[in-house]
Amino acid sequence: MKKENVIEADQLTKTFGDFTAVNAISFEVKKGEIFGFLGANGAGKTTAMKMLIGISKPSSGTAKVAGFDVYSQTEFIKKNIGYMSQKFALYDDLTVKENITFFGGIYGLSRKKIKEKRAQLISELGLEDISNKLVGSLPLGWKQKLSFSVSLLHEPKIVFLDEPTGGVDPITRRHFWEMIYKAADQGTTIFVTTHYMDEAEYCDRVSIMVEGKIEALDTPKKLKEQFKVESMNDVFLKLARNIEAP
Amino acid sequence: MKRFIGFIKKEFYHIFRDRRSLFILFGMPIAQILLFGFAITNEINNVDIAILDHSKDATTEEIINKISASKYFTIKQIIVREADIETVFKKGKIKAVLNFEKDFSKNLIKEQKATIQIITDATDPNTANSITNYINAILQNYQQSKNKGIQIDYQIVPQTRMVYNPELKGVFMFVPGVMTIILMLVSAMMTSISITREKELGTMEILLVSPLKPFQVIIGKVVPYIFLSLVNATVIVLLSIFIFKMPVAGSLFLLGAESVLFIITSLALGILISTIAQTQQAAMMISLMGLMLPVILLSGFIFPIASMPIPLQIISNIIPAKWFIIIIKGIMLKGVGITYVWKETLILIGMTLFFIGISVKKYKIRLE
């Protein structure tokens, strides 16, 4: 059974004046896939992701996200995606419950649905005792788990994660990945942007962007075989070196 | 010493590379002084008024002519019914209505008494007050000219003379106020922001973990602003002399010396703020709320201290700006010397030492 594509990008390009931030990238992501979108800072990851989530218009090329066109149907795209970044996640000065209610509200869930989701989420994460505590007082790991769950509240087709596990302790990090696997298993597509190569090892497939172009795209296993190295970090180092010193 | 000069050099780089602070430094003083000088004024000029004349006789006509001849008022409308008074006020253009009673001349001759009602729009109380005063003055003047030659048993003729600002120019009052605000703003806000910026960026950590002594850091932060504030004070004085023709009656040297004193007071306050605030934003909020508002409201700059409720009058004493305004008004307008303002100067010196004392005590050689 061939799974449907939820992201299709073809020759997607973004230029700022003379500078080409994203240079004709093409790729597709399947339903339920965990897709790693890697690259150094300034390689064009963020610009590419902004085009995919509909907040930046491409200069040329085409792309469809969740079946919608990135030029003309950005409103529909926004309804069908979730987003979680390391920097902005939840409001520290609202309680766990208030955060869930607020984000449920902005995603347009009905009051009944919010109540239902809230109860489900709190019990799944085991937050019953602290559901009335301010999010600011929770440990970082809990915040991240909660914020991932919140990004799934409206049952989006795709969730974009921006460096989701940087700085978290190893155990919490693994719990976090278990949550990601679960969401993927239930059919949600996970799009992870990161420059932390260790996170790439967990993805089904990864693309590596260098200077605006996708220079490699495959499963971590095959990439490691192809470059004859032990880790994704080494894959990246080799790739960057090849391009820097041709 | 080389370290110290290196530090000051760096501070000047910061100031000249940040457009925002450059604007606050040099744009604000000029903008403020022009704004206060030209736009905001208590003087009245060409105020639109309406007339409701129930008698329409020779006397009322003379009075009306006299009023309309003055440069202060323009008669915009003649109304005929009492009911219209409210209508014209509601439209908003007309600021006052003169209501002459019926048989004005007749009453004046028969009963030696006739009434004019002056109705003013007191939504702006200051203007309303001025309008009433001006009209009263015109009426009085008219009355005196009429009574010439007639012997009245006794008569008190008030002779007013406005000294130090005979034309009652608003700008004379605002220049000292604006100068105070600018010096306060530049000195206190800019230093506190520049110190907290280092905290925010984390560079303060490196400065602390360096052989640079804390007082060197502080003095290094302050020196550029003393210099810039003085430049500012000079610009303001020059502007007021050449554009607003405001005389500086007293000694320029004394004015400069008092300004330096006040700059140091403000810098000490700025340092004090930076020991409390952790972020640039907090420093700015504290400077604006804690310094600017009291300076504007309680220093006597806009609202006379003497007409404030007693508690506010007492509070106004702890505001350095109040004393500085008294000093520079004295020097600029009255031309007094140090013998007249030594008390205020001592108070400012005392306050400065107090603020520096607390800052030194509160300044941390560590992070907490």
Partner: protein, 300 residues
């Protein structure tokens, strides 16, 4: 000892940032503090750089007491705080010469120490620090911390937010500095960087889990680890968590790391259990423990 801490504790209001921390760093050693965000790494750095006074315990840096001799420490250590603390509006060269001046030295005087780092950023010496890439900021910050030839170098999370190439170069630079006799204390949340240190302290929630060489820490791992892979990661984890002999299971890239409670463990037995659970493409093999495995075992 270049750095020595004994029984250091520090609290902020109610929160205990570090509790009863003791360790020594030998002269010329590259010592790593490895732990997640909020473990207390920055607090330890600030105590050692005399920016904070500990509630309890004593510490010495380069032979000086951190409280009594704080001035002596301040002129003999280099410190690179967590965020690259540079003046964004000054150029590369201006930043460097500023830091040289406040430490009473010049760029020329200690140029040999920073030369091989500075040449990499020298082409951009007239660029404002705010316009540099993360990797270049990191190099400039390191130059600034080294400009007065410190005896001890404190680097708080120098590789956070920096791309893999710059990270690798950075560690190579540290190795070279170490050869020049500088003692280095470095912190990082990235477990894979632990192997690059001479010795490490694993730290979590303000307490030290273990101190040793990276090799020794890994070799102490008590169990045999198996890499287990299958067609569906989520179902694999679920099934393993339900397995009666499970000791621990953690996702590790394309596999999970599985440990068993028993001494006598049969791969075939687990394989048939997983097959029964409906998984396919099952792959089980013995794997090497790494620092993360050790950290998780110790943190349990």
């Amino acid at each position: 000892m270049s750095i020595s801490l004994s029984n250091i504790s520090k609290s902020y209001k109610k929160v205990k940032a570090v509790q009863d921390i003791s360790f020594d760093v030998n002269p010329g050693e590259l010592f790593g503090l490895i732990g997640p965000d909020g473990a207390g790494k920055t607090t330890i750095f600030r105590i050692l750089t005399t920016l904070l006074i500990p509630d309890e315990g004593t510490a010495k840096v380069a032979g000086f007491d951190i409280v009594a001799d704080y001035k002596a420490i301040r002129s003999s250590v280099g410190y690179m705080p967590g965020r690259f603390s540079l003046y964004q509006d000054l150029t590369v060269e201006e930043n460097l010469s500023f830091f040289a001046t406040i430490f009473g030295t010049t760029i020329e005087e200690n140029y040999d120490l920073i030369e091989d780092i500075y040449v990499q950023i020298a082409p951009f010496k007239n660029r404002r620090a705010g316009k540099l890439s993360g990797g270049m900021k990191q190099k400039l910050a390191l130059c600034c911390a080294l400009i007065h030839k410190p005896k001890v170098l404190f680097l708080d999370e120098p590789t956070t937010g920096v791309d893999p190439v710059s990270r690798k170069e950075f560690w190579e630079m540290l190795k070279r500095l170490q050869k020049k006799g500088i003692t280095i204390l470095v912190s990082t949340p990235y477990m894979d960087e632990a192997a690059l240190c001479d010795r490490i302290a694993l730290i979590q929630n303000g307490a030290i889990l273990d101190i040793d060489t990276p090799k020794a820490i890994v070799s102490k791992f008590p169990k045999t680890i198996y890499n287990v892979g299958a067609n569906n990661m989520y179902k694999l984890i679920q099934s393993l968590q339900d397995y009666e002999h499970l000791y621990s299971v953690f996702p590790f890239g394309e596999f999970v790391h599985y440990t068993d409670q028993r001494e006598s463990f049969e791969i075939a037995e687990l394989k048939s259990y997983l097959e029964k659970a409906g998984l396919t493409d099952i792959h089980i093999e013995v794997a090497q423990a790494n620092i993360e495995d050790a950290f998780m075992e110790l943190a349990k």
